[in-house]
Symmetry: C2
Subunit: 332 residues, 2 copies
């Protein structure tokens, strides 16, 4: 099924090259109509570098450019014609089924919730849903950065939104929902964790109780609920440790001719591990709880990551996740 | 200099073997007088397996055994003759310079603060000080589990205690102190992070601002201040990611004869990486802010880890860290 997907051409750290190249890949692979949103003077020359024959790619002009110096909270007001603002407006107005951006997460959250799509009625807080993938395992963590200092009722809705996304978009029939804690026992965790368990138990979900970081990587849980600050620290800690370990192994292997030879012979194994933990395979994190499908990618996205973020957007649209959140989540 | 170090013989998950063997190693290497605290009927037969010639090792009987079923909060009351209780009592009474345990962290915290050593006057909350070591880099993170739902004033004292420990015990002349956050900008982090920055800036410390998980592993910060729940999630996330990556590499390398051969040739490099990230090298986490030196090791400690926890205890005693905390930290 061919969808209309708006893509932020000015999103990634090295825009527009990866954003445009990823859009071209997706247009070719999925046959979607891509609306590339950005400054025409920047986007058109980049697009001209690609063979576009048979592809449905349109440029939508957005003159304002969000920079690192813009404040996420006020950029929606100060730059109403940014690629994010206009791209999300296309979703709001029904001209696009989804918007994909590898730009500043804070700006995206603020423009989505305050200026364009806004929260779904009854949803207390939207959640950014990080997806940790290792080989065949995929675990959703929400929230990973849209909220801090969360309330138990927010976490209860994160659990419900995560359950719907996992079922409808990832196809997991009965997602196992866990509450992030630093121990499995009931008394562990901070005040929020200790007061949220009872609320989660009362929901019609497959709630399995407290889970620790190691359980996220063991395949025993599908959806992990947490405050956005803690979830963000968790993701970044795992990412930092994985990256450092990779670098350290490379350095140590080069120390002697014999280990260097060993490293060369073992290269297919290392490549396979690198692929298994590559964040580009996931592409992006859905922002759940707003009136439309938004996927936010890593600033360091390459074309492959952008293409996969578009794939994620397709799945979310086709699974009717937004509609389900609007109709099925009971207001507490 | 020979010290009197009390060691919990009933602490580790597989006590008393690693606890006793580690004590024997330390007695031999440092010439310390070790007071092995535990059930005599369990400890003496284990000790008899070792060659004790020339070593100063004494058994101190502690009939109560703390099990996984004991509640950390009430075990100090219900089992006043546990190895932890008696071991910390030896420190309180001046019979030992420090106490080392690989037992339940919650029980150790509760017995230390409520029943034996108690808080240093003026210290709002003791902090458990995790030490992340990768090769030559050692970063202290505090708190990693003694407190949750922290207040800015607690974090300010954690920073001061960390600064003193880093200078006096680790010998770092001017420790760089960072505040854990999910971004370097001032507005990042949760409410606690956003309100603690100003307080930390005002202290006579080498405060470098917000640091992210990746900065902990890059050698740019010596002491990282955070709430204990978040610090615990950070440590456990890094540990889980590192362990999974190691396992995944081993599995992938065994997939073909050629990569298996490569893995064999590269083995010295892998061994070196494993040593660089081995938590046993650190041994244990000091509990700062109580009237005495307590080092808490991992439940999975091996003899080498116990010996290194005793080394950590020695450094903390010789650096007079407890005395410095009592005299130098200004009550807010």
């Amino acid at each position: 099924m061919s969808l209309n997907i708006a893509v932020d051409a000015m999103g990634s750290d090295t825009y527009p090259a990866p954003d445009v190249a990823g859009s071209v890949l997706a247009a070719r692979e999925y046959g979607d109509h891509i609306l590339l949103v950005g400054d025409e003077a920047v986007v058109r020359p980049e697009l001209a570098k690609h063979d576009l024959q048979g592809l449905k790619i349109e440029v939508v002009h957005a003159p304002d450019v969000i920079t690192m110096h813009d404040k996420p909270g006020s950029v929606g007001k100060e730059k109403p014609n940014s690629s994010m603002h206009i791209g999300m407006g296309l979703v709001r107005d029904g001209r696009a089924d989804a918007f994909v951006s590898a730009g500043n997460t804070g700006a995206a959250l603020s423009i989505a919730t305050l200026f364009t799509l806004r929260r779904i009625a009854g949803i207390k807080r939207p959640a950014l849903c990080g997806i940790i993938r290792i080989g065949e395992i995929a675990v959703m963590v929400l929230d990973v950065g849209a909220n801090t200092d969360s309330k138990p009722e927010w976490l209860a809705q994160f659990a419900q939104m995560g359950d719907l996304f996992s079922r409808l978009s990832l196809g997991i029939p009965k997602p196992r929902i866990g509450l992030l804690s630093n121990g499995e026992e009931d008394g562990k965790g901070d005040e929020l964790v200790r007061t949220s368990g009872a609320l989660l138990k009362a929901l019609p979900l497959n709630f399995i109780g407290n889970v620790e970081p190691k359980h996220l990587l063991s395949g025993m849980v599908d959806v992990v609920v947490t405050d956005g600050y803690v979830g963000n620290i968790l993701l970044k800690s795992m990412e930092a440790a994985t990256r450092l370990m990779g670098q350290t192994i490379r350095t140590e292997i080069k120390r002697s001719p014999l280990t260097t030879l060993g490293g060369l012979l073992a290269r297919p194994a290392f490549r396979s591990v690198a692929r298994m933990v590559d964040p580009a395979e996931v592409g992006g994190a859905p922002l759940l709880g707003v009136n439309g499908v938004i996927i936010i990618g890593h600033g360091s996205s390459n074309p492959f990551a952008i293409k996969n973020a578009i794939r994620q957007a397709r799945k979310t649209v086709l699974g009717k996740v937004t509609e389900a959140i609007a109709s099925e989540i009971h207001v507490a």
